[in-house]
Every structure is written in structure tokens, then in C-alpha cells.
Symmetry: C2
Subunit: 312 residues, 2 copies
């Protein structure tokens, strides 16, 4: 099987797992939580391998994992509160989780990040040589930040009334952007974009990515609205002009996410972040753009509320 075929098969396989996980509400939406946790922790592991410089510094791996799980629980507790405020369909364990990880509607994420900073400083002081202190502590904190908070907002998106719509929307844009760039670059590519991190990419490619994104989001909005109306689901209150603008912005963000991961790999002098997924490389290679797309998309929706739109 060649690389492209492997890529398509494993891509479809992962898509099927994701759709399955989002379709069934078992034990307080445990599947979406597990899915997010798998992406975050595998991504974090790959980031730690990528940034390991041996004696020159490396992340505090176990501590980072513990805090990644705690932060995911803080996101999950918020998710549970939004999905089912009265906890009518939740177990005692879920209620306990909400009490401790979303106390009095306080977002524990910044506090847990500070606790991680304190813990990794303590470990640095007690167990490592002096050289590389800044590097080790910084990559511990920023690795958890990049992977865990990146996907944590996927859960919060999913908790919105039209959450599935936005979740698919923000996942479709990086895929369309990538695909559009690939074909536009091959067919029309003339003017090199001159980025050191990705020297063969052309301006025509990037423009193709933006164009395909705008087309796909409009097609998706149309299809979803029709289907949601027939199923009596909440309709996303977003117009063609706005979703086109969002397609442009998010296409740009997903290119940044993609190139940032390439920059990390080139800085570390490796090709793929791992060999977890046949044809794709590692989780970071597959999901690099999503780590940026979900939180930035969520941020957009939050600011949109201020402008008078309800968060549907």
C-alpha cells in the first residue's frame, strides 16, 4: 500500500472513531473526554520527545502528564456543567468532579498551569544540574499548554447547543486548507512564498487553501442547516458572509499551526513527530493545526457574544 492510500485509510479510520465517540452519551459523555485525552497525552508525549535535548535540558515528563490530566479534568468538569447544569443524568463521581475541578464556576486552568510552573521549578532545583533550567521549565509549561489546552477547548465547543456544528467546522477548515494548498500548489504554483520552514510552498498554494476553505465552509453551512431543520436541531446563527470571513481567518490560523509544528521539527532536526499513524506520522503531524484551530475558534465565538450574538 503506498503512502497516499495509507494516509486515506488511516484518516477514514480515525474519522470513524471520532464520529462514534461523539455519537453516544455513555456515562457522562465519557467517550469525547477519552478522545480528547488521547490526543492531548499522545501529542504531549511527542512534544516531549521532540524537545528533548538531553543534558542541555528536557521537559519534566511525568509531572507534565499529571498536570495535563488535571487540566483535562478541569475542562471536563466545565463541559459537564454546561451540558447538564442540574446534574440530573450524572453519577456521584461526576458531581464530585464538578465540585473539585470547577469550584464556584472558577476556571482552574491558569491556576493549574502556575502549579505546574512551581512543581517543575521545584524538580529543577532538587534534581537537575543548573544548565538548561530555563529551557527545561519553559518546555514543560509550554508543552502542556500547547497540547492540552489546545484540545481542551474542543470539549467546550462540543458543549455548545450547536457544538457539533462548530467542532466539525473548525476541523474541516484545516483539512480544506491543506488539501486546497496541495492541489493549487501543484497546478498553479509559480511564486515561491519564501518561508524557510517550508521552502517549496507557493503563494498560489496558500491562496488555493483559503479559497477551498471558504467554499467548503459555505457548503457545510448550507448542508447542515438543511439537515438540522429536518431534524429539529438548534440552527447555527451564522450568515454566509461571516462564515466566509471565519473560513479565511481560520485557514490562516491552521497554516500557522501546521508551520509551527514544522518549525519545531526542523529545530529538533527530525522529519515526523512519531510513527503512530500509518501515512501521517505522529499525532502532532495529524493534529497540529487543530491545536490552534479549536481554541482560536472558541475565542472567536466568545468575542462574538459580546457583539450581541447568542452562543448557539
Amino acid at each position: 500500500m503506498n503512502e497516499t492510500a495509507k494516509r486515506i485509510v488511516s484518516g477514514v479510520g480515525i474519522g470513524a472513531v471520532v464520529i462514534f465517540a461523539l455519537s453516544y452519551d455513555v456515562y457522562g459523555w465519557i467517550f469525547p473526554f477519552c478522545l480528547v485525552a488521547v490526543f492531548a497525552l499522545l501529542g504531549l508525549y511527542e512534544f516531549q520527545v521532540l524537545t528533548d535535548r538531553g543534558l542541555d535540558g528536557s521537559a519534566f515528563r511525568k509531572t507534565a502528564f499529571v498536570f495535563s490530566v488535571l487540566i483535562l479534568l478541569a475542562f471536563y468538569a466545565r463541559f459537564l456543567t454546561i451540558k447538564d447544569p442540574e446534574a440530573l443524568h450524572q453519577s456521584e463521581l461526576h458531581v464530585l468532579l464538578r465540585t473539585w475541578f470547577y469550584p464556584a464556576a472558577t476556571n482552574l486552568v491558569p491556576l493549574l498551569m502556575i502549579a505546574l510552573l512551581v512543581a517543575s521549578s521545584a524538580l529543577q532545583i532538587l534534581s537537575r544540574p543548573l544548565d538548561g533550567a530555563i529551557y527545561s521549565i519553559s518546555v514543560t509549561v509550554s508543552g502542556v499548554f500547547y497540547t492540552t489546552i489546545g484540545v481542551g477547548y474542543a470539549l467546550l465547543l462540543y458543549a455548545l447547543p450547536a457544538g457539533l456544528f462548530y467542532l466539525i467546522l473548525f476541523a474541516l477548515i484545516p483539512i480544506s486548507s491543506d488539501t486546497g494548498a496541495y492541489f493549487a500548489g501543484r497546478w498553479f504554483g509559480r511564486h515561491n512564498a519564501g518561508l524557510k520552514v517550508s521552502p517549496r510552498k507557493t503563494w498560489e498554494g496558500y491562496i488555493g487553501g483559503v479559497v477551498l476553505s471558504v467554499l467548503v465552509v459555505n457548503g457545510f453551512l448550507y448542508g447542515w442547516t438543511e439537515y438540522a431543520r429536518s431534524q429539529d436541531w438548534p440552527l447555527p446563527n451564522i450568515a454566509m458572509l461571516e462564515i466566509s470571513l471565519l473560513g479565511v481567518i481560520m485557514s490562516f490560523v491552521s497554516v500557522i499551526g501546521d508551520l509551527a509544528e514544522s518549525a519545531f521539527k526542523r529545530d529538533a532536526k527530525i522529519k515526523d513527530s512519531a510513527q503512530t499513524i500509518p501515512g501521517h506520522g505522529g499525532i502532532l503531524d495529524l493534529a497540529d493545526a487543530l491545536f490552534f484551530a479549536f481554541p482560536v475558534g472558541y475565542f472567536y465565538l466568545v468575542l462574538r457574544q459580546v457583539a450581541g450574538f447568542t452562543l448557539v
Copy 2:
């Protein structure tokens, strides 16, 4: 004037400015906000100088400053909402700030941090060579994190009904811990603690720091309670046993904060973080322990609520 005298004079001077800033409510408590902003931005500047490795990587300074200010505004908007929920005594500008920086009671801090990660990735890709990408992006993000969020929680502490009590409490512990360690180390120091970052410190010194912290917090609790009762202020609902325990924990945290900053400086091979404050060095040298003490103390108070205590 010798170093110790300089240290005392400038320490008292700064103390006077802080007390003045906290005493008057002018234009929506603008003084405490400015004070916090000065600490955060000077600390961030020193951190950026400290972590600058030239061609091997350095923080994206201007972008970090912009995001530091945005994050401070998010803290300030929350502070304003807690202090005066109905905005009865606030200007239109304050109300606008609350609408945009604390929209629907959403904590924007994690989202702004992600936006900083996206922005510094974009800058790295567009304007810098490939080597040092991981270092540059990581120190940009963790620098803002360390300094801005560190002091941001000081504002939220101050917004509590007995906020001034906790603010002074969490500032007193590092000072007592430091002073106790200095004298106990001089008088009783026999057994070297063996930490590479601070090779002359002894176990007796650290124990002395903890002991003085416990004594000082109890003395402060007693004095404050008496005075608050006479002035009809809200009384802090914390008992001797709990405040002693808190003294021990926070003394440990402040030692970590102090040593972490030493580790950064030794890693960077410099002695003082700057020469801003006569006798002390830089803001980071003066306030290193506070960057950890305020958020960890706030975290403690949040978790304390879950155990049934009201946040007074």
C-alpha cells in the same frame, strides 16, 4: 550608604508606594491596577533580558508586552466585576472593559495565552531563522505566564471581602521566610542543604524560615482580627491551626520561587536580574517569591471554598 541600608530604605519606599496605592479608590481602583502592571511589565522585561540567547533564540518582546497588557486587562475586568458587580461607581470605559475582557463571565486568560502562542509562532515562521524556534516560542509564552499571571492573581486576591488581609499575608510569608532563613542560617547553620543553585544554604536556615513564617502569620492574624473588629471590617474566617499550616506551605512555595529565579540567573550566568532597585537588584530579585505566592495562595483559597469555607 552600605548595601543593607540601601536595601532597607528602598524596601520601605516601595512598601509606602504599595500602601498608598491600595488605600485610595480613584477611578475604579486604578492605582492597584497600575502597581500590578508595573511589576508584571518590569518583571517580564527582566525575564526577556535574562533569557536572551541572541541567535540561539530569544523572546518576541513586543508581542509579549502586548499580550501581557491584554491579560492584565482581563484580570482587571474580573476585579472590577467582583468589587462592584452592578458597576454603580464605574465609568463607561470601565463598563466597556468589562464587556470585552470578561464577556459573560468567561475567563479570557487561557484564550489570550493561546493567542500569544499563535502570534509568536507566526512571527517565528515569518521573521526568524529555523534554529531556536522551540526556545524562542517557549520563553515568550512562559515569560508572560510567569510574570503576568503571577501578579494578576494579586488583583483578584485584593477583590475579596478580606482581600487586603490575604494580600498582606501572602506578601509577609516570603519576607519572613527569607529573613528567618538568613538569621537561622547565620546563627545555627551546620548542615548544608546541598542544593546546586544556592550552595551555601543550610537546613537550619530553611527550618528557621518556616518557623519565623508560622510565628509571623499567627501574630498578623491576631493583630488584624483585633483591628478589624474595632473598625467593623469583615473578619478573615481562618483559625490558628490552618494559618500555621498555610505558613508552612507558603514558606516552601516562596523558597521555590526564590530558588527558581536564582536557577534562571545561574543558567543565564548573571548575578542580578537588573539594577532597578538600589540594594535589591531587579524586580525579579525583589518579587521572585511573590510571582508564585499570590497565585498559589489564591488557588488554596479557591479549593478551601470546596471544603465549605466561604471566600472571605
